[in-house]
């Protein structure tokens, strides 16, 4: 399993999750967990996804997600989960 963390940060609006999820489904990326919260008016969403079945390389997925973010005016980041595990789990 190749676990990736996708974060979406920006002003709340209709259809953010739909757009991201549609993209992930089209690229055979499986969503394992979704959490969202509003911090001082900002929409914060985190997804844990598995990219191992996707025909696309990690960097291609990350770049395309970034572009979708630019189109809808939010910041979308894909990061390998390892950085969070290393920092927050012993």
């Amino acid at each position: 399993m190749n676990r990736t963390i996708i974060t979406v940060v920006g002003h709340d609006q209709v259809g953010i999750i739909a757009k991201v999820c549609t993209y992930l489904a089209n690229n055979r990326v499986n969503i394992l967990d979704i959490t969202q919260t509003i911090v001082s008016g900002y929409f914060n969403m985190m997804m844990i996804v598995d990219t191992s079945e996707s025909p696309k390389e990690f960097l291609a997925l990350a770049n395309e997600l970034e572009q979708i973010g630019e189109e809808i005016g939010v910041v979308i980041k894909a990061q390998r989960e390892d950085i969070f595990n290393m920092m927050h789990r012993i």
Binding site: I5, Q36, N44, I48
Partner: protein, 454 residues
């Protein structure tokens, strides 16, 4: 499973608090390039560096993209050139030709510094090592990316005072050769005591002879992260303060460990060490001085500074050693003046002096770093300052270093501009009473006794 708060905390450190990987440094042994023919030697050096390091910059960029953490510098450290060039170099110019080769190789692979134009002369100097030292002013003037370091003392051997005397003159000459650029050459020259073999930070990085053929060493940073964490501990007692620093250092170092392992995997080069240093930059919020202020000092240099720095340095190490399987290099807090806005402010406020900085070096990693002094400072005075700093390292069994910049044509009240990561610095006053007779004695200071520690 990782939760959203943890994700947001990590990303806040990166985006707002300047958490970054300061350097991935690829250590390369050049011992197998040794040749008595200078042209052949230069060819082999260029070939080895450009072969081993060809993917270094790309690896750094890949890591940046996968983890979204900046990898600020990609650098190379090499075997001390005095060992590699001894058979081929008969003149200073011969050594300068190697410096040019190193510069060209660094540019070819896209790294911003290459360290190891070095000699290890803690007990004595060979003819070849003396030649290399004498070639430094020209070598640093005609190259951009080459860094020089000379180890002139150690706890085991004592201090080579002949080398200390020579380096006072060399520092001044290096300043003279680069006077058009505020004596920038001196920012690339460091004099060390107890120099580590695996330091990834410039200008003191070299690939020691105890190392493997090639190795990945990583330097993490993040003074801004520690500073922000301490904001939550305002008014708390020392136990809470120390605990906060330790936990933060752990988190920062874990990222370093991850990046080091990843770089090692991508490049197929073994992982060496993580250097868990708090390395400031001139950027606001990336300052060790601001941590000292957050601990409770008006400015670094105020009474209490040495104690505050001692606890900071110690807690960084305590948090860091658990986070990484191999810790090395310098590991601690750096206190360069020109590279830390808070230090510059403290100097300008009249709070921080050279003498206080010297006291601070007793308890932090490294030493008198990036300090601009008047261009008319005497060579023997510079040697005297070097000797003092080396003595602190020798007696306390720690690494100390001196990177002084006598800025030719400038004096008290002026400012030297180095640009980029090197920043700018106000010229600091130097005690001008003579130490000529001391420095001119010649010979070496014997190794200290290792018992009766008082």
């Amino acid at each position: 499973m990782i939760n959203i708060n943890e994700v947001l905390e990590t990303n806040k450190m990166i985006e707002e608090e300047n958490l970054d990987v300061r350097t991935i440094t690829l250590g390369i042994s050049l011992l197998d390039c040794v040749d008595s023919n200078l042209d052949e030697l230069n060819r082999k050096i260029y070939e080895k560096i450009t072969t081993v390091a060809k993917d270094l910059v790309a690896a750094g960029k890949q890591i940046e993209k996968e983890f979204k953490i900046p990898v600020v510098n990609k650098r190379i450290s090499i075997t001390p050139i005095a060992l590699v060039g001894g058979a081929a170099c008969k003149t200073k110019e011969d050594y300068v030709s190697i410096a040019k080769t190193l510069d060209a190789a660094a540019k070819a692979v896209g790294v911003n510094f290459i360290g190891g134009y070095s000699a290890l002369v803690s007990k004595g100097m060979t003819k070849s090592e003396r030649l290399l030292i004498e070639s430094i002013p020209e070598a640093l003037a005609v190259t951009e990316n080459v860094c020089a370091s000379i180890n002139v003392g150690s706890t085991k051997t004592g201090i080579n005072m002949d080398a200390v005397k020579l380096l006072g003159e060399i520092v001044l000459k290096t300043a003279e050769y680069t006077k058009e650029r505020d004596s920038l050459g001196c920012a690339k020259l460091v004099v060390l005591c107890n120099a580590p073999d695996d330091n990834p930070f410039m200008a003191g990085a070299f690939h020691g002879v105890t190392e493997a053929d090639s190795i990945i060493n990583v330097g993490v940073s993040g003074p801004g992260v520690v500073k922000t964490a301490l904001e939550s501990a305002r008014g708390a007692d020392f136990g809470t303060l120390c605990e906060t620093i330790k936990k933060t250092a752990f988190k920062i170092t874990r990222v370093g460990q991850l990046v080091a392992l990843e770089a090692s995997k991508i490049l197929g080069v073994p992982f060496g060490i993580v250097d868990l240093s708090l390395a400031p930059t001139p950027a606001v919020g990336d300052s060790v001085a601001e941590i000292l202020q957050e601990i409770g000092l008006e400015h670094p240099g105020a009474p209490g500074t040495t104690a505050a720095l001692a606890l900071l340095n110690d807690q960084v190490k305590k948090g860091g050693v658990m986070a990484s399987s191999y810790v090395g290099g310098l590991s601690g807090a750096f206190i360069p003046v020109s590279e830390d806005q808070g230090m510059i402010d403290a100097v300008n406020a009249g709070c921080l002096t050279l003498e206080k900085l010297e006291a601070m070096t007793c308890v932090c990693s490294v030493g008198l770093d990036m300090i601009a002094i008047p261009g008319d400072t005497k060579a023997t005075t510079i040697s005297g300052i070097i000797a003092d700093e080396m003595a602190i390292g020798m007696i306390n069994q720690k690494t100390t270093a001196v990177r002084l910049i006598p800025v030719i044509g400038k004096t008290l009240g002026d400012t030297a501009e180095f640009g980029g990561l090197l920043g700018y610095a106000p010229i600091m006053p130097v005690n001008s009473f003579s130490c000529d007779d001391f420095v001119n004695r010649g010979g070496r200071i014997p190794a200290p006794i290792h018992s009766f520690k008082n």
